[in-house]
Every structure is written in structure tokens, then in C-alpha cells.
């Protein structure tokens, strides 16, 4: 069965303390892996798309990487405004265009 697992469930960091969030997947093939940020009371906001192993994308303090089995979202020198829930999703072929979402990592950055 296709699955997407995110870890840790929750993460507390001091401002400036770099860390990584993990998204592992067990799917038959991969059309794309997507990272989103979700703030309380808001819909998920798109961050990155990764399509193949070895690919990397960067935006400000965030960097997403992809291997054949997992993706990492690296956060460098985080700030309090980076506090949010980070979701990953995968799209696989032959599934009728469905996206499978993980349950997210809740990140809190303490000033």
C-alpha cells in the first residue's frame, strides 16, 4: 500500500538552530514530491516540487532534497516566522491523479 510518513511529528527549535524534517514514502513509482507549509487557520501553501532522486530546491532558509525513498526539508538558521506545520505529498502514476499526504511536522521556533 502506498504510504507517506513524516517525522518527527513535532519539533521545537531555538532561533538559529538548524535542523531537518523527513518525509519517507513507499510508493510504486513517483510522479512528484511536493512540500507545503500550513499556518493555523490557513490552507497549505506550496513550497517546492521535486521530481527525481538527487534533485534539490532552495528558497530562503529552506532547502528540499530527494532520494529514491525519502525527502528532507532542511531549515537553516530558522526564525520564529518559520513556525508552521510542514506537509509533504506524493503523486504516483496510475492512481487517477491522487496526491497522498503525510500528517505533517509541526515546527515551533522559539525566539
Amino acid at each position: 500500500e502506498d504510504q507517506v510518513t513524516q517525522s518527527p511529528e513535532a519539533l521545537r527549535l531555538q532561533e538559529g538552530e538548524s535542523s531537518s524534517l523527513n518525509c519517507s514514502y513507499t510508493v510504486s513509482g513517483l510522479r512528484g514530491l511536493f512540500w507545503y507549509r500550513q499556518d493555523p487557520g490557513k490552507g497549505p501553501e506550496f513550497l517546492f516540487t521535486l521530481y527525481s532522486a538527487g534533485e534539490e530546491k532552495e528558497k530562503e532558509r529552506l532547502k528540499a532534497t530527494l532520494t529514491k525513498k525519502e525527502s528532507f526539508l532542511h531549515i537553516t538558521a530558522p526564525k520564529p516566522e518559520d513556525s508552521a506545520t510542514y506537509l509533504c505529498a506524493v503523486q504516483v502514476p496510475n492512481t487517477g491523479n491522487q496526491f497522498y499526504f503525510g500528517t505533517g511536522t509541526s515546527l515551533t521556533v522559539i525566539p
Binding site: K42, G43, P44, F46, T49, L87, A89, Q98, G102
Partner: protein, 113 residues
Amino acid sequence: GAGVSQSPSNKVTEKGKDVELRCDPISGHTALYWYRQRLGQGLEFLIYFQGNSAPDKSGLPSDRFSAERTGESVSTLTIQRTQQEDSAVYLCASRRVYNSPLHFGNGTRLTVT
């Protein structure tokens, strides 16, 4: 341009009543998805529309749930005879082409009392 718009943003209804939730996708986006997000849980796929093709209804939890979309524009999600377990945030998303990311609205928070 404008993002995905959902209305109402909040809806409180009594158990047994019907509710209609509306989604305006981004202009030019051919695909539209509905998801449900229960408190502390992941996104649960409900239904998917692509152009004039038959919708993928495989995620609808019961026959009380239905959705319509007119062409490539507005969609409505209808829940009949609401139950307390229907309380959740209902998210709508659209995307331009296959393999492109989903873009989400801010959802409708439904509370069934």
C-alpha cells in the same frame, strides 16, 4: 492573480441539516480537488474533477456527500443530513496541468452541533 477562494470561511450547522460549500479555483486551472482535514489529522481526499471527464469520487465517505463542478469553474460540495463526525475543515485545491502542484484555498471550517 487571485488564489483559490472558498466560502463560507466558517459554517456552524445543526445535526441533520444540509450544507453547501463553494470553491472558486484559480482561473485557467483545469483540475479541482476537495479534501477534508480533521483536527490533528492529515488531508483526506474526497473528490477530483478534471475538465469534462467523469469525476473521481472514490474518496467520498458516504452517499451523504456529493459535489458538482460547472466546466472549469466553480465547484460546490454538498453534505446532506450532517453528522457531528462531519465537523472538519474542507479544503479545495486546483492545479493547472498534470504534475503541477496543488494550490489550496483557506478552507471552510464546518462545525456540526
